[in-house]
């Protein structure tokens, strides 16, 4: 198993490297205004070129890449242009990452706990009330763009539950809505997959043997079905991390949470290229890590995978 994990980690690094390089190259296409901010109009063509050259943006691609990686190893991600002029990107990020991390991880945890519980209940009470209610919830969440209900949640729940509209580190009550909103989508995802896999497993032959053994339906559910369904569940983890990322872009802006999600939104609006670039790379790294975690968890739950010598395509 260790060998498998190491192989997988190695693979992730390669992917990360490839992705970073591609993203970097793509980002060379960013609109040039993003390197100037307000001063763009005030400078003429020659001055702009000079500045861009000074930043190394006119060098051939491979030189730029080398520069970039050198800086990366040193921990230098450039300097912000329009957001906080002249402030190193890493400094800005360091203050903001903790918020997003907390929000993201907590919401995923909540989504897993409640989502799995919901999926199990739905499978157990298949075609009955619980299943119907759950299905309605899942359909709604998956179909309607989250922006729509995030807005309404903020609008109504703040007045009904007397919750503060904006996030405040010191006010615990303000944690509730952002967390709730963040978890909704992933919750629906976990519930849907869990229910689907449990129902699939219930049709398999070994369940029939378990029945013939004299096990009660409840026992079969818990001792056989549920445990097996965790395996493909681990596959959903990367997706829920992705949702956490995109969700954070909304939620952080809506509730004014000073995390990297709202930072990205702002830096896009202000066309701050170095910041946008750094954030995109961070998010890419997070997703790749999420995929890695998913695979490792899968291997952990499914003993058959450990024995495979082929890594297997995703």
């Amino acid at each position: 198993m260790l060998k498998y994990i190491l192989k997988r980690i190695f693979r992730s690094f390669i992917t990360l490297f490839a992705v970073t390089t591609i993203v970097f190259m793509l980002m060379r296409l960013m609109p040039e205004e993003g390197y100037f901010g307000d001063s763009y109009d005030k400078l003429d063509e020659i001055q702009r070129e000079a500045i861009l050259e000074g930043m190394g943006l006119r060098d051939p691609m491979h030189i730029q890449l080398i520069h970039f990686y050198k800086g990366l190893i040193k921990g230098d991600l450039g300097t912000s242009i329009t957001y906080r002029p002249k402030v190193p990107v890493t400094e800005i990020l360091a203050k903001k990452i903790p918020y997003s991390l907390w929000l993201g991880l907590s919401s995923i945890l909540i989504a897993i706990i409640f989502g799995l519980w919901m999926g199990i209940s739905m499978a157990q009470h298949k075609d009955r009330l619980m299943d119907g209610v759950g299905t309605f919830y899942i359909v709604f969440i998956r179909a309607v763009p989250s922006a729509v209900y995030y807005l309404f949640l903020q609008l109504y729940l703040t007045s009904w539950l007397k919750l503060p509209i904006l996030f405040d580190v010191d006010e615990k009550a303000s944690f509730f809505l952002p967390l709730l909103s963040m978890s909704l989508v992933s919750l629906a995802g976990y519930a849907m997959w869990m229910r689907r896999y449990m129902v699939d497993e219930l049709n398999k032959d070994y369940i029939r043997l378990a029945k013939a053994k004299g096990l009660r339906q409840k026992e079969i559910m818990f001792k056989h079905v549920m445990r097996n369904a965790f395996v493909p569940m681990a596959q959903y983890l990367p997706t829920s991390i992705l949702f956490a990322i995109s969700g954070s872009l909304y939620i952080e802006s809506l509730y004014s949470i000073p995390g990297i999600g709202s930072l990205l939104v702002e830096s896009i609006q202000r066309q701050d290229n170095p910041l946008v670039q750094a954030l995109v790379l961070i998010y890419a790294a997070i997703s790749i890590f999420g995929l890695l975690m998913g695979d490792v968890l899968m291997a952990f739950f499914d003993p058959r995978i450990k024995f495979e010598t082929q890594g297997g395509g995703r």
């Binding site: 070994y206 029939r208 053994k213 445990r227 739950f301």
Partner: protein, 362 residues
């Protein structure tokens, strides 16, 4: 067959229990239907059968004859779109045909009747160690816990021929071969300490070389644990070696039933003769092998008369009109065919059967 009758067979050695002639399971006129695409299909059409303690009964028939459905209805394992329409299944004080709820079936499953399925590859939970799976049965039906239960599992694993049980306990099904997996499935069934063991084509999915081993194992376990065994199979060769009695099933009905020798050497129902005649071992070199022409009937429609009539070259007109009842050939041998009626014309034994008799006489 009622409990008063005595069996007078002195040719073959019968298990003593049969001489006591107590049926532990009596199925009478069972009708099982399925709902398929809005229409209903009669998979079992008034089949009747008695099972005696300690015997080995084989139910033979081609695919689609209803053998599996028949036994599944004994344990409440019918698919969701199937149900018992009428008839009785008398077991001890219960009429299993009346069982509707899981609660009722839990009194029977494992504890009284256990089943070995056909495909050992899919019968076991791939993500649980086989030890744990056998242990479940032990804990549930033998009332053992902890260390005791684990030891009991080691014992059973040894009894079914799995060596190094301690090591094997912690292994997963994919680490076992097909034959070994089937042994595990048998271990689970036996661990339930049932009265009746149903083996649904236990060797069909296995290599020929393993088949004999598994059949032998089941036989051993039968004597050791005092089980009554029902074998379901389409392979007459398998049947010949192990069965005391044979029931021949066709189109959802049991058309002939009798002692093994009676069925093999003195078949009375045309289908039974046809089945035997199709044994490739009886083929004569240079001549085409015999195969029953036609296919089993469509069970969506009600069958008038004898279901086999259309494929029977020697059918009587009445076979198309009225369904034959059981005709008694001996105390242990019954057949549902109008040929046994006194008014029916005499029919010679098919050449093949004579051949079979000759060959075995040698």
């Amino acid at each position: 067959m009622n409990s008063d009758e005595m069996i007078k067979q002195d040719e073959k050695h019968l298990p003593d229990q049969i001489k006591k002639a107590m049926p532990i399971l009596t199925i009478e006129n069972l009708v099982v239907k399925f709902n398929l695409r809005g229409r209903s299909l009669s998979a079992i059409r008034e089949a009747s059968l008695s099972l005696y303690k300690g015997e080995s009964l084989a139910i033979v028939g081609e695919s689609g004859s209803g053998k599996s459905v028949f036994t599944k209805s004994l344990m409440g394992l019918l698919d969701a779109n199937g149900w018992v329409d009428s008839g009785t299944i008398q077991y001890k004080t219960y009429d299993l045909a009346q069982f509707k709820k899981e609660k009722d079936w839990l009194k029977i499953r494992g504890k009284e009747i256990a089943m070995v399925f056909q495909d050992p590859m899919t019968s076991l939970n791939p993500l649980k160690t086989i030890g744990k799976q056998v242990r479940e049965a032990v804990v549930k039906h033998q009332g053992l816990k902890g260390r005791e239960a684990t030891n009991a599992v080691y014992d059973i694993l040894e009894n079914v021929g799995i060596d190094a049980p301690r090591k094997r306990y912690n292994q997963y099904p994919f680490e076992f071969s097909g034959g070994m997996r089937q042994r595990v499935v048998i271990a689970i069934a036996v661990a339930c300490k049932p009265e009746i063991l149903i083996c649904d084509e236990p060797t069909t999915a296995l290599d020929v070389t393993i088949q004999a081993q598994i059949m032998e194992l089941i036989g051993e376990l039968q004597s050791k644990y005092g089980l009554t065994v029902i074998y379901i199979t389409h392979d007459l060769g398998v049947v010949a070696h192990v069965a005391d009695r044979v029931a021949v099933m066709y189109a959802g009905d049991i058309v002939e039933i009798g002692l093994s020798e009676e069925i093999f050497y003195d078949p009375r129902h045309p289908y039974t003769s046809a089945l035997l005649a199709s044994l490739p071992q009886l083929g004569i070199k240079g001549e085409p092998l015999y195969a029953i022409k036609g296919t089993p009937p469509n069970l969506f429609k009600k069958v008038e008369g004898d279901a086999f009539a259309f494929r029977n070259e020697k059918a009587l007109k009445i076979d198309f009109v009225k369904r034959p009842p059981y005709f008694k050939i001996s105390e242990t041998h019954y057949a549902k065919t109008w040929l046994m009626d006194e008014r029916a014309p005499k029919v010679d034994k098919p050449k093949i059967i004579e051949l079979l008799n000759e060959r075995s006489a040698k």
